[in-house]
């Protein structure tokens, strides 16, 4: 048994099966906790009928998705209608293939590294994640188009514009990390944040972290960026006409996408499976138990981000579309470009991982942004410019 | 070095397919898609021939090609949208006012 595991191929195969199972479970319970957290925030109880504390609710939901009537409306574009949920779900799932879960593992404790706790370890893992993420939009676009429903179509349009806009600051924020670390291999990015004199990248580039976090919110279509499924305006958005399991695949795909995004940002900025100073989580710890411990830590960080996703969703209202565009093109893009320039300069000066320099630059940028904001008067949430001015009463109301 | 010949042939085939599409389709957007297919053929050829010379120059050229493709997509599609707004059609044969 152990001999089979020592072969990276079989280890990866088994890890794939385990991960798919675990992630499906996590995704199902994400839906449960989404409802629970919304309930807690709104002083309610949430699902508590199926099983103790409602813990079997995901099973009931799954059964419902399976057994509900699967409607294909008459005038939909049938091939696209059928393939869109598969694309949405499949692309959300294949992103997990390159996430490093537990570093190197020495299974039989003979001092030789046998396998890496990772399904695949390409040298371009980061780009792979970006590529998969940029393809993820097709599920939404095709779903919205194939629906033959004008609300779904609006949703697809919005989603396209949003994804294109937010991929640019996302790419630049990632570039900041890549230029600092100097590699595209995800495991190397994790390792570069560990060890003597190295810190997590969030310490070096907090601004880039915030930008990446915001863009991941946008890429996963979560509030406050969920204009693609704005119920008040667009019925259900791109999945208006979907029912039963096809709707369920869109639904699960969104959560799977959230998990990928959380893992991504964890690896880039929060040291992946590493916690500073904790024994068992260092690169030198390669026993099978250390691997499990590392996986647990990585999972815990991801769960923390998932909680943040849900917490934000039930706190912050949705943007208006022009605000969304303005945030990306006039807010995130200039800041991220300044950051990229600064990070490049640091690398040129040989101070890429120098905390005072990197952090100082971020603080200086924050001060500049604050001063710039302070100097620019006027309301940012303002009305559209082409509307006439509001008629003011002659005497101001006291 | 036999290795790259199929790639070059594949690139040529893609280029030819794109050319046929460019010549024969009437929808402006599909015409531009055909040019993108031709560019794909060129990309494959660049990479394969770069490999023949054991150098990454071909890949660098291909990256510049992507820039061209992106620029082309942005501007051409902007123009297509303007044309569509003016005449409500994407038919290339409807734009014959420049014929002598």
């Amino acid at each position: 048994m152990l001999d089979i595991l020592k072969d990276q191929f079989w280890f990866s195969a088994i890890l794939t099966v385990v991960l798919i199972g675990a992630i499906m479970g996590v995704v199902a319970y994400c839906i449960y906790f989404e409802r629970k957290i919304s309930a807690w925030i709104q002083d309610r109880v949430g699902p508590n009928r199926v099983g103790p504390f409602g813990l079997f609710q995901p099973l009931a939901d799954g059964a419902k998705f399976l057994f509900k009537e699967d409607i294909i409306p008459a005038n939909v574009d049938k091939p696209l209608f059928l393939i869109a949920p598969v694309i949405a779900f499949g692309l959300a799932m294949i992103g997990f293939a390159v996430l490093p879960w537990g570093g190197n593992v020495d299974l039989d404790a003979d001092g030789i590294i046998d396998v890496t706790a990772q399904v695949a370890d390409p040298g371009i893992g980061l780009l792979y994640l970006l590529g998969v993420g940029s393809l993820g939009i097709y599920g939404v676009v095709l779903g919205g188009w194939a629906n033959n429903n004008k609300y779904a179509f609006f949703s697809a349009m919005r989603s396209t514009a949003q994804m294109l806009s937010y991929e640019i600051p996302m790419g630049i924020a990632i570039f900041v990390v890549v230029i600092t670390v100097g590699t595209l291999r995800l495991e190397d990015i994790v390792l570069s944040q560990i060890g003597e004199g190295n810190v997590w990248n969030i310490v070096l580039h907090p601004f880039a972290f915030i930008i990446l976090l915001i863009t991941i919110f946008a890429e996963t279509n979560r509030t406050p960026f969920d204009l693609a499924e704005a119920e008040q305006e667009l019925v259900g958005g791109y999945h208006t006409e979907y029912s039963a399991l096809k709707f369920g695949m869109f639904f699960l795909g969104e959560y799977a996408h959230m998990i990928t995004g959380s893992g991504f940002i964890t690896i880039l900025f929060l040291g992946g499976w590493h916690l500073p100073g904790v024994p068992g989580l260092q690169p030198g710890d390669v026993s099978i138990w250390a691997m499990l411990f590392k996986m647990t830590v990585m999972g815990a960080k991801i769960v923390g981000f998932l909680f943040l996703f849900m917490w934000v969703r039930w706190t912050i209202p949705r943007f208006r579309f022009d605000q969304l565009m303005r945030l990306s093109w006039k807010g995130l893009l200039p800041i991220s470009m300044i950051l990229a320039g600064y990070a490049t300069t640091l690398v040129y000066l040989g101070k890429a991982t120098n905390i005072p320099w990197a952090l100082g630059g971020n603080v200086a940028l924050l001060v500049i942004v604050l001063i710039y904001n302070g100097l620019r008067s006027g309301e940012i949430t303002g009305r559209q410019a082409n509307l006439p001015a509001i008629a003011r009463p002659v005497e101001a109301h006291s | 070095m036999n290795d790259i010949v199929p790639y070059v042939i594949l690139g040529a085939l893609l280029f030819a397919i794109g050319m046929v599409g460019f010549l024969s389709r009437r929808n402006l957007i599909v015409i531009f898609l055909s040019t993108e297919i031709m560019l794909q053929g060129v990309v494959i050829n660049l990479v394969a021939l770069g490999r023949l010379h054991d150098h990454v120059n071909g890949q660098v050229f291909a990256l510049f090609l992507f820039v061209i493709a992106a620029v082309e997509a942005g501007l051409a599609l902007g123009l297509v949208v303007l044309l569509y707004r003016r005449r409500d059609t994407l038919d290339a044969e409807r734009w014959t006012t420049m014929w002598g």
Binding site: G123, G131 | V20, S24, L33, D91
Partner: protein
């Protein structure tokens, strides 16, 4: 042997051209089924030819054949499908099929860049525009190709001249290789980190071109913005004009 091979090769090309011609959208009865069959035969023949010639090389393996066949078939679908949306989506499939080919050629960075730039950005823009501009049903211009026969003949003659030469003259490969300049070896392909090589070559040897590409993108962006700002009057519809500043619906006296 050469004549035998070349006749097979040219037969393959002719069959491919015929398949493309038959698959083109046309008025009257659809010939799609015949076109598909002939196209499949042509692809099989091409695979057979390649398999015989390139056993044991990276281009002789199954991944190459699968990717190449998918790329060719979806490229043909791009130019023959009657729905522009399907054309764009088949093009995405072409791009995704070309990706493994580039990875086989040790161009990992380029492969993923292809997916990100083409499938993730350019094609999304295409789909966006197609959806914007194809609201009212399917226009006639998608149902009928323009001079498909001439186009197919022209295209495949060009291709046959290029590719037929290469495929039928395996012995002269040596001449090509010999004529090629020796590898300048400042970035040999044997290194595993393809990204770093591409980056270093691009930012040292071709840094001017790199900067120019950036300028080109900037110009294109400015051009696109300027274009989208321009209000084009429709040549068909005359919009009712309202005095500026007047908002809302006008109600006559009663």
């Amino acid at each position: 042997m050469n004549t035998h091979w070349s006749s097979l090769v040219y037969t393959t090309f002719v069959m491919g051209a015929l398949a493309v011609y038959l698959l083109m959208p046309r008025a009257g009865r659809s010939t799609n089924i015949a076109g598909t069959l002939i196209g499949m035969v042509a692809l099989a023949l091409a695979m057979f030819l390649c398999a015989d010639m390139f056993v044991g090389t990276s281009s002789g393996n199954a991944l190459f054949y699968a990717s190449a066949v998918i790329a060719l078939a979806s490229a043909v679908k791009v130019i023959t499908d009657e729905k522009p949306v399907y054309s764009a989506l088949y093009f995405v499939l072409t791009v995704l099929a070309i990706t493994p080919l580039l990875i086989l050629q040790h161009a990992e960075f380029l492969a993923i860049a292809l997916v990100i730039i083409y499938a993730g950005a350019i094609l999304v823009t295409y789909v966006f525009v197609i959806m914007l501009a194809q609201q009212g049903g399917r226009p006639a211009c998608d149902h009928r190709a323009r001079q498909p026969l001439l186009a197919v003949v022209g295209g495949f003659l060009t291709m046959a001249v290029i590719a037929g030469q290469m495929a039928t003259l395996p012995d002269e490969q040596a001449v090509i290789v010999a004529a090629a300049p020796a590898p300048t070896s400042d970035a040999p392909l044997a290194e595993p980190d393809n990204t770093m090589q591409v980056g270093s070559v691009m930012l040292t040897q071709y840094v001017v071109a790199f900067e120019l590409a950036g300028v080109l993108l900037l110009v294109a962006m400015i051009g696109a913005i300027a274009m989208s700002q321009k209000r084009i009057p429709s040549e068909k519809l005359v919009e009712p004009t309202k005095p500026p500043g007047q908002i809302g619906r006008e109600v006559g006296p009663y």
